[in-house]
Amino acid sequence: MENIHIPGSHDGYFVPTVDFNYQNGVCEISGESFLEETNVFYAPLIAWIRDYTKTGLPLIFNCKLTYFNTSSTKSLLDIFKLLKKYELEGGQVTVNWYYDNEDLDLEEAIQDYINDTGLTINMINF
Amino acid sequence: MKTFFIFLLYSSCFLLSCATQPSKMSFKPIPYDIGVPFFPDSMNIPENNPMTVDGVRLGRYLFYDERLSGNPSKPMSCATCHKQEHSFECGMEVFSDGRPIGNSGKKTPNVMLPLINLVWNNSGYFWNGLINKDNPQLGSEKYGVKPDSVFNMTNIESTVWMAIRAPHEMDGDISQAVKMIKKDNFYRELFFKAFGTTEINIDLISKAIAQFIRSLVSFESQFDQFMAGKIQLTESQMRGLMLFTTEGADCFHCHGSPALPLWTTNMFMNNAKDVDFEGQNDRSVVTKNPMDKGKYRVPTLRNIEYTAPYMHDGRFKTLDEVLEFYNNGLKRSPYIDPLSINTNHGGMHLTDNDLKDLKAFLLTLSDTAFIHDKRYSNPW
């Protein structure tokens, strides 16, 4: 499996920085997500995670997004549902979300993900 | 001899000036304070006719003066039909359908609208908003009035010359009306105090009457007393208020609320009472927009108790009939207003008790102080 690296940018739209590493099983997404074509951006990321879960190896998902629009919200939900499915199938999954605990809207959004998926998301203040 | 002629000359000048122009120093117009702080700030007062105490006073005399028709054999004033006890509509005692018969024997095409709180109407007068600041029309071929800037159709002033000439109103003669008013010396001082001139013409007559009409302000209903914390409403009235201001009866989107104390939005709406609009003199006649078919002004609900019959054509004689219409009688057409969600199922479908409560609330909007206010009654 190839690693994924997408450098983030803020040129018209907000592209998050993405680093998915097959060797150490750490997936990280950070910055802001507000894309022109959200599905086109996230489809390969979701496909990568799906392929990774076939290996049976542990996966750490670090999220450091500070802002995401509605369509990104949906794509992230798809990722978290996939992770939960992997967990239920016996996979070792750790999800950490690094955020500013003064951002109450973000805190609420993370909580919504926890409630909607049943996934444990460690909310880490930074 | 020379001295005599000089004396004669000076005497003539002196006497003439007394006759035509009292000293300019004595024209001191006092602004008229409408005095309703909880109503909107934006008032429809044209720059060329600011309201003054003496302007309103003059207007009141003219409003009630039957010489306004210019026809001694058919005297008629504004007040002939616009009666204070009916919030300056005509009521149903004389004309059972609420449509007066003019001096020509013709009926008015629609029932009246009340003359209250008009100064806050910025969207146009009459049922279809024909009289509005953007109307470029001058004069009227139909009424035999020449196109002149005095005979415009932009504001309340315009309704005066129209009323004098309209066959279904005074069917009168403007120049005769002016002559008859001029003849009465009583008016010279009033015109001077109002406008700084003893000249009397239709322009100043219209302006004065318009000032009086703008002064007709109603804001002391039972509900206003409640809002000021002076009285309590009954449980039924409170339930009625709740129905009025929720999507149960959904009256508030068009007729306002405590936050919109004019109790009208002054907009034009199609309230789903018709499906055939052929021949109607509705809003579409003014805007030329076919989507405005069936739209008429939303009248104020202030003093609604006194202003039967209801709707532009007076089809409903009582408030109960109106409520029954809104409860079960709404009709779909391609022109229904997008705000009228109750039309989706033919009406509000409230219970009899709900309707009683709604009516009880509507009656709290009656302002007995207004209909008895001596400042608005016949001064003659």
Binding site: T70, D105 | P40, L260
Partner: protein
């Protein structure tokens, strides 16, 4: 001599720049199904295949904030704007003197009003005063009124009002016991057109995404907090389009 000429040129450039600076502001646009909105034309279909036309759209935005490329933020406190698709001058907003979009990265604003600003009777004059939200339903003002007409399955014309404001929680006797503020913050990347940042509202998204709406499920929603919350999700997406 050369220095003087250079100095003169520089001076002229500065003058040009100063005189070329115009007032920056915000422009509001409306789309429906990704094209410029056509009002009062029955040409649109919701994702539930209901035919509709858009008749009116009015909304309030407040507390606009610019976020610059260097992450600095400038919030214009107590800024409020009323937009009405039928009032052309409301489609342009100059939030304040010195509103400057140079090096701006994104805009953030509140849809509607926050709880401290959403006070009844604060607007005395039209058109803003027409947006009042009844006291029984929570008071303050509508954040939005989007009014449409649609055709039902029998091809009859019906009205639907997407009216958003304070929501209510009711007790078993159907009396409101609590009020919910439905305002929210939205952030969008800057879209510049000349000296304006454009805020677009895609009306079709209000009815389609992320929640597909069936108009015939509703008439009005002012006393339906669940529906208003759902529509708020869609409205957020509609501003993001």
């Amino acid at each position: 001599m050369t220095k003087s000429i250079i100095g003169l040129i520089l001076f002229c450039l500065v003058c040009f720049r100063v005189s070329a600076q115009t007032k920056d502001g915000i422009k509001f646009t409306f789309t429906c199904q990704d094209k410029a909105l056509k009002l009062n034309e029955m040409i649109y279909y919701s994702s539930n295949k209901q035919s509709y036309k858009v008749c009116q759209c009015q909304f309030f935005l407040s507390n606009i904030e610019i976020i610059y490329k260097d992450k600095k933020r400038k919030k214009i406190e107590n800024s409020i704007h009323y937009t009405d698709i039928e009032i052309p001058k409301s489609l342009v907003w100059y939030p304040e003197n010195g509103f400057n979009l140079e090096n701006a990265d994104s805009l953030e604003f509140t849809f509607g009003f926050d709880s401290t600003q959403n006070r009844s009777y604060r607007f005395k004059n039209p058109p803003e005063n027409l947006m009042f939200w009844p006291d029984y339903l929570g008071g303050g003002y509508h954040y939005m009124k989007t009014n449409i007409l649609y055709l039902d399955k029998d091809n009859n014309i019906n009205a639907f009002n997407c009216h958003i404001g304070r929501g209510q929680i009711y007790n078993s006797e159907n009396k409101p016991i609590k009020y919910i503020d439905n305002d929210f913050r939205i952030k969008i990347p800057i879209k510049r057109v000349d000296n304006f940042a454009v805020i677009n509202l895609d009306i079709s998204t209000i009815f389609d995404y992320p929640n597909a709406v069936l108009f015939s499920d509703y008439g009005g929603i002012m006393n339906n907090q669940k529906a208003m919350k759902m529509f708020c999700e869609n409205i957020k997406a509609a501003f993001e389009k």
